[in-house]
Symmetry: C2
Subunit: 314 residues, 2 copies
């Protein structure tokens, strides 16, 4: 379905439920709240739902929504930034599976919804949502533009990541022109770190291993380190890229002990096929970023993994 | 002088020397090499000079220039991204003081050159240089566009910093459209860290002090820590923002021991006037970022500084 068709369909609806994915990030929330803002301006009853607690840093989005929340029986269900219903928390999974419309930017979208708008070329789903809102004829006011900017920066690492496009920059320029406080949004999402996250990062770096002529760096994060610093699982995401970021390192590994005691191994590589290495251990992913889960002693896992990496680096 | 006038003046010149500032950064180098590229395309003899060693990460710029270096007696001298001749290393200071043309984006430019193009609204000097090169009628080829993109991203923190403008994003879109490997440039300048820098960062965070209800965080970097990690002074710059980046911290302080034994104190603040605090100790700067130099024992300096901050936070 095209953006134009989706907007035409949306214009005919009321009592609309917008589903966002679990472990909510800036793009799913930005899409959800931007669309909520646009449809509310058109006088519709709309609600955004998520199965999880939404991190406090998004309060500028959810507090406005929650303040004006209304109860109604949903007649039209929209899934935003959701490639498959499995990515939605249990309470909304069935609703998502039967969604009337899905707006997404994942090439892996399983086309589960009745109608789907998908553009895998878009760095963020918010770039597609901007086109939908334009077609709805709603002006990008401060709230809507802030929501869209949130998805744009969080999914592109504030224009640093490889998925950034010319269109991402053009949208940034347009959103900045609406007068939003983009500096504060950059600060919230890219400058601010929790103390526990910083302390976990410090411990992780202090105990980092280097091997194969410093071409491989390995970070190990145990449950004890998580408890000691008070870090939450979300804090680990920011740590995964550190090992590869060191000059000369071609393969960065992060071994993270899960609550079950199992280990989650994440590889980030530079000019080395991470997915091929992880496939040997039943995992997968992309060329530059892949992972797998396993059990065992961390030293054994490292030895096994380093042997596999050695073959590739030869 | 306007950009058009500067370009008209440049078109009449040959045997051109381009001076860049000491401790060279991406913006002065990006400007210098982009202009070198443009003037060379016009068949002129041009050379870019700097008094310091240029960091290896800029080799994609200087290696092309150095390979085709020619010797000549300069007839026209241009200073780029240089607010005052003091910012140029000794060997070129006198030449800079008598520069024929200065192209700059610092509002503090002392107008030392015979002619000056200054636009303090530009986040990077490379944004002004793009207009100069457009007026020269030279196409933005891969080398020139890569040089301009380098200054654009290094002076805006890759579009994260407050000085970023709508024009910065529009230029990014334009440069990306020329087909440059902007992903690799982002990686070089924003992902890659030296091992020594990362180790210094880790030591600094491990020994951080928190005070005044965690509203103030203090990082101390001694000469011993520098030696232990093999870090160079340039590595410290990236560490200065860390203290303030912690959630809830309003004043982030970095105390750095200089080779002389003196201490350089850098404040980064959030909604607190850093310049006013530093003025009490003979220093200065901007509202959100200021500093001063002093001697004494680190603990005494911290006590003195925390007392001054306490007055402001009240």
């Amino acid at each position: 379905m095209t953006v134009n068709e989706a907007s035409a369909l949306l214009k005919q609806q009321d009592n609309i439920l917008i589903i966002t994915h679990k472990n909510p990030d800036g793009d799913t929330l930005g899409c959800g709240y931007a669309l909520w803002g646009a449809l509310t301006r058109l006088g519709r009853r709309v609600k955004v739902v998520n199965s999880d607690d939404i991190p406090h840093k998004y309060s500028y989005l959810y507090s406005v929504h929650d303040k004006t929340a209304v109860d109604f029986k949903p007649e039209f269900v929209i899934a935003v930034d959701i490639a498959t219903p499995d990515l939605v928390g249990k309470p909304y999974q069935e609703l998502c599976r039967n969604a009337d419309l899905c707006i997404d930017h994942h090439g892996t979208n399983t086309m589960y919804a009745k109608k789907t708008v998908v553009d895998a070329e878009s760095a963020s789903c918010c770039e597609i949502m901007t086109r939908v809102i334009d077609e709805l004829g709603v002006k990008l006011d401060d709230y809507i533009a802030s929501a869209l900017y949130t998805g744009l920066i969080t999914d592109t690492g504030c224009f640093r990541q490889r998925n950034t496009t010319v269109d991402s920059h053009l949208l940034a320029a347009r959103l900045m022109n609406t007068g939003i406080d983009w500096q504060e949004l950059n600060r919230i999402h890219f400058e601010q770190k929790s103390k526990s996250r910083l302390m976990l990062e410090q411990l992780a770096v202090a105990n980092m291993d280097f091997t194969l002529d410093n071409r491989v760096a390995i970070i190990t994060i145990t449950q004890d380190m998580m408890k000691l610093t008070g870090a939450v699982p979300g804090d680990v995401e920011g740590i995964t890229p550190i090992a590869r970021s060191i000059e000369g390192v071609e393969v960065g590994v992060t071994l993270r002990q899960l609550e079950s005691g199992n280990w989650k191994c994440s590889l980030r590589t530079h000019n080395v096929d991470a997915a091929a290495i992880c496939a040997q251990f039943g995992g997968g992913g992309h060329f530059g970023a892949a992972g797998f889960e396993c059990s065992g002693e961390p030293d054994d896992i490292k030895t096994m993994l380093v042997n596999a990496i050695k073959e590739v680096l030869k």
